[in-house]
């Protein structure tokens, strides 16, 4: 269909709007049925741009709460988007494919699969690069990609990217996304260890993020601010930020994010040596992360539990938990060095005076080694 004239353009828009209307009840039904979405046979009638848009929207809404289902929906989107290549103008197909890849990248990120996430974002960018009219979409993908890079510990690259998107969004007059890009830059600085700078930036961004009306982003901002305050030793400020973040996420029903805030709260309890309260939270989080196929996070929580057990002098339970963590890390494909480090921790648990420090050291190493596989583990010095 031609989009060289206004009439052609509006005819195409009408067609897609009709397809979306037709797709909406199908997508709702698909989600309500609870049927497994893997290997689903895609009916001929689903192969429309409108269906991809509706599926993508549903998948995006689920990416936090149910990443597994979201990923399956996104894969259906991709499959249809590649199938309708010749039926729509190239710009639509590029936009549909890129959006699906971007969301796949985010779901991989939620599931701790950083490399897969990088690849998905790169694929999204490749789709967009040939179409000059998709500059805004390109900036959205770059912002998301930059945010993932932060967790991949590629801070410099992440900062450069997210700051460049802030300039692009400013050109589009999109002050909301400028604020989100500035938030991402603050997160990069936080992860780079500039706690004081990050705290100030987070605090200064609260009004701008409030103005966006994006409650989820506001909750994430408070969660990050909480962690910065905790690491700076301001425990009461940290507790208040976590409280606000959790209240918003509960209101939104973002259960994965509620759990992430709880993780921060439990770690804050550890700082206060409140092991009795922290332990059940860690145990609940561990089973939740395992059920959601977030193996890295589950493994890290296991090490938090080991720390609680060591601190409360339950060394044999700590050894069992370490064994379990080793098995899970191995199944999750964690690199050999990290597994050796956890093995080392298990051996060290026989000497209680060194055990707690060793847990912290190994946990920090495991966290880093996810994205820096070549990082050497230096054995604990007695």
């Amino acid at each position: 269909m031609s989009i060289e004239t206004k009439e052609g353009l509006f005819a195409l828009m009408e067609e897609i709007a009709e397809e979306r209307e037709a797709a909406r009840p199908i997508v709702e039904q698909l989600l309500a049925s609870g049927e497994p979405l893997e290997d689903i046979e895609i009916p001929e009638g689903w192969r429309t741009a409108g269906m991809v848009l509706e599926l993508c929207e549903a998948a995006t809404a689920l990416s936090d709460a149910n990443p597994i289902c979201s990923l399956q929906l996104q894969l259906i989107c991709i499959s249809i988007a590649y199938d309708i290549d010749v039926s729509y103008p190239a710009i639509i197909v590029a936009r549909l494919k890129a959006n699906a890849w971007k969301e796949i990248g985010f779901t991989h990120f939620v599931q701790n699969a950083y490399e897969a996430s990088f690849h998905a974002h790169n694929t999204a960018l490749a789709q967009l690069s040939a179409e000059p009219a998709l500059g805004y979409e390109q900036a959205k993908v770059v912002l998301r990609y930059g945010s993932v890079l932060i967790f991949g510990r590629r801070h410099e690259e992440a900062l450069r990217l997210v700051e460049s998107t802030a300039r692009i969004f400013a050109e589009f007059g999109d002050q909301d996304r400028v604020a989100v890009a500035q938030f991402a830059a603050a997160v990069a600085r936080h992860h780079r260890g500039e706690l004081g700078v990050a705290r100030k930036e987070y605090e200064s961004l609260i009004p701008a993020i409030e103005r966006t009306g994006q409650l989820d982003t506001l909750a994430r901002l408070y969660n990050n601010l909480g962690s910065a305050c905790r690491d700076l030793g301001d425990r009461s400020a940290a507790a208040e930020c976590y409280r606000r973040s959790k209240a918003i996420q509960l209101e939104l029903g973002n259960l994965v994010q509620v759990d992430k805030v709880d993780w921060g709260i439990a770690r804050l309890m550890m700082v206060d040596s409140d092991f009795v309260k922290a332990e059940p939270i860690f145990r609940r989080l561990r089973s939740v992360f395992l059920a959601r196929r977030m193996p890295d996070d589950a493994g890290e929580v296991a090490l938090d539990i080991v720390e609680v057990l060591v601190a409360t002098n339950r060394l044999s339970e700590a050894k069992d938990m370490t064994e379990q963590a080793i098995r899970e890390f191995r199944e999750a494909g964690l690199n050999d060095q990290a597994i050796t480090a956890v093995h080392y921790l298990r051996d060290l648990l026989s000497t209680p005076q060194q055990a707690r420090q060793a847990v912290k050291r190994v946990r920090a190493y495991v966290e880093k080694s996810k994205t820096e596989p070549d990082l050497l583990f230096l054995p604990f010095e007695p």
Binding site: F10, M13, E14, I16, E44, P132, A133, G135, D174
Partner: protein, 169 residues
Amino acid sequence: MTVLAEKAQSALSRMGIDFDAVYNAHVPLMIGIAVDRFHVSHSDAQTLALQIFLVYFMKPEDVKDARAWFVGAISNACRQYLRTRARDVELPPEIVNEPDPEFPADWLPNRMTARQAFSCLTSRCQLALQLHYLEGYSIPEIAAQLHTTPAYAKKLVSRCLRQARERYK
């Protein structure tokens, strides 16, 4: 009568946005910016402006300040368009007018590899791949040949291709 008015009960109008008004307010403006500020030809400027409008239509909720967004979008698109065009170098006419040469060395290894890979497959798979990749049949045409649905034919072709790749390694 405007395009939108003709389709008062259309799916487009049910989206709750007066796209016709948005179009009239911003598309001529974008074309003007592309032509006057970036010296893009009128026809290319119109293509870019219509494409940007289509992007807006696909997610209008992204846009809060429409004027700023459309102005930013056309400026950004024109810069990208000009950068891309600057990188393109026209081929000399003697090459443009010549058909692509066909050397056996270009296609023979591929065809031999394909034949060897096909020999690792069942006859149904061989037929599906032969029809699709060597004879250029479309998926619906293959479905008709194999008396099955297009969805199954598509699955069959992709499964056979995967098998060929795995077995030929």
